[in-house]
């Protein structure tokens, strides 16, 4: 049931992303609300549907974006794996894990995007891509990380209530 809940939630986030967030630019970088949501969801200890939500996010974004189909799916699954690993390592400071995963996840996702576009025939200059797109995007994502984490934390508490002893 909670897995199915991911479809409308990520669909709604995708609408916000394409209509609003993608227009708010820092140099050429933009925030990625869905990436942040996937990371924050995967970092919640009680959540058992992180992989399913990553797949939903990958499929929905693939339907919309002009990136090659497998890139978004591979990107969100990779980031979920990173978040899950980090959640087990630094479980006592989830906010720190959120920031670390956000920064590294943005870089990884963008590197995957550059690689995917190169495979599709569009070669992007790496240095320019990193300085003008990736780093500004990472900064925006870091700014958005805390509010997104708070909202997702509340959502996870509602979806997976703590078991009373």
């Amino acid at each position: 049931m909670v897995t199915l809940l991911g479809v409308p939630i990520i669909g709604f986030l995708l609408i916000i992303q394409t209509a609003v967030i993608s227009r708010l630019k820092l140099l050429e970088g933009t925030g990625d609300l869905i990436l942040l949501f996937v990371i924050a969801w995967a970092l919640q200890g009680r959540v058992r549907s992180a992989w399913q939500w990553a797949i939903i996010a990958g499929v929905l974004v693939s339907l919309v974006t002009a990136l090659p189909y497998f890139i978004a799916l591979a990107g969100y699954l990779t980031i979920t794996l990173m978040a899950r690993l980090l959640q087990h390592q630094v479980w006592q400071t989830p906010i720190l894990a959120m920031f670390v995963t956000t920064f590294v996840g943005t870089v990884v996702f963008h590197l995957l995007s550059i690689s995917g576009l190169a495979l599709a025939g569009t070669t992007l200059p790496i240095q320019e891509s990193l300085t003008l797109v990736t780093l500004p995007s990472a900064l925006i994502n870091l700014i958005l990380a805390l509010p997104v984490y708070t909202v997702v934390s509340d959502l996870s508490n509602w979806a997976y209530p703590a078991e009373e002893v």
């Binding site: 394409t18 227009r23 050429e28 002009a66 797109v133």
Partner: protein, 282 residues
């Protein structure tokens, strides 16, 4: 008997005195006396009246403030409502101006062109890609490959279509390449997008004299875009004698950051020349 006579005379005297005082009063002889007597009375009356009014105002003014506040709140609500209406009307006016401009363009370019106006509803979530989403799809006659323009110039072409929306690849996208020609020298070249949204003129022969301000128009070569659609102007030229081609940066006539509405040329079908391109032999 004697007592009743005395009372009679007392009464008569009193009546006569009263009548006399009335007559004296009417004749004005009592005025100085009355003035002297009434002045302190009037003073007391005035003092009392002023104090009464002060107390009355003290009690009643807060009630007026409350009513004023209520009235003020109502007026503020009304002003807020009117301001909202003004903003909505200004927004509608801006949209109407954009649509009028597109309509003017369609009327001014009647040479067989069929246009469908569409609103820009979003941008690609990936920052490396310069794609927009429009609110017209296959239900409105939109097909893949159709050119997209504004009243100012070329925007891009339809890349993917659903029943009610479409994705447009902008000419500023890094994967976009458009064959162009120069004005006034009619040199043939190609424009290439980039991740910064800037456009560069590539594959321009060294023999063609290029100057700042030269116009760039679509050439129609390759069959992806109709010819003679304005794209921009040359800003700076980069020419090195030891290179095969010269290049230039181009200032587009369309502001891609503030695109609100576009026109899709629905009667243009791109030509697929891929079967004519020779494949490398194994």
């Amino acid at each position: 008997m004697k007592a009743s006579n005395t009372r009679f005379w007392q009464t008569t005297t009193l009546v006569l005195v009263c009548v006399g005082l009335v007559f004296v009063g009417f004749s004005g002889y009592l005025q100085p006396f009355l003035g002297t007597v009434l002045e302190p009375v009037v003073g007391v009356q005035r003092w009392l009246s002023v104090r009464y009014l002060a107390i009355y105002e003290f009690i009643t003014v807060p009630r007026d403030v409350a009513s004023l506040r209520t009235s003020n709140e109502e007026l503020e609500r009304e002003v807020a409502g009117l301001q909202t209406q003004i903003i909505e009307l200004q927004q509608q006016l801006r949209e109407a101006q954009v649509l009028y401009a597109l309509l003017d363009f369609a009327r001014a370019n009647p040479q067989g062109g069929q246009y469908t106006a569409a609103e820009v509803i979003g941008r690609d979530p990936n920052p490396f890609l310069k794609y927009i989403f429009i609110d017209r799809g296959s239900d409105h006659g939109i097909r893949r490959g159709m050119p997209v323009i504004t009243d100012r110039g070329l925007v891009g072409r339809i890349d993917a279509v659903t029943s009610s929306a479409a994705r447009v690849q902008l000419i500023t996208d890094p994967g976009s390449a458009v064959n162009v020609r120069m004005e006034p020298d009619r040199g043939i070249a190609q424009i290439q997008g980039s991740i910064t949204g800037e456009i560069t003129l590539e594959m321009l022969s060294q023999e063609i004299p290029v100057q700042t301000g030269d116009l760039i128009l679509s050439s129609g070569l390759g069959g992806n875009f109709p010819p003679d659609i304005l794209i921009g102007q040359v800003v700076t030229v980069r020419s090195k004698p030891n290179e095969l081609f010269q290049s230039a940066s181009v200032q587009t006539v369309v502001d891609f950051n503030t695109l609100q509405a576009v026109l899709v040329i629905t009667n243009f079908r791109p030509i697929d020349i891929s079967p004519l391109v020779p494949s490398p032999e194994p």
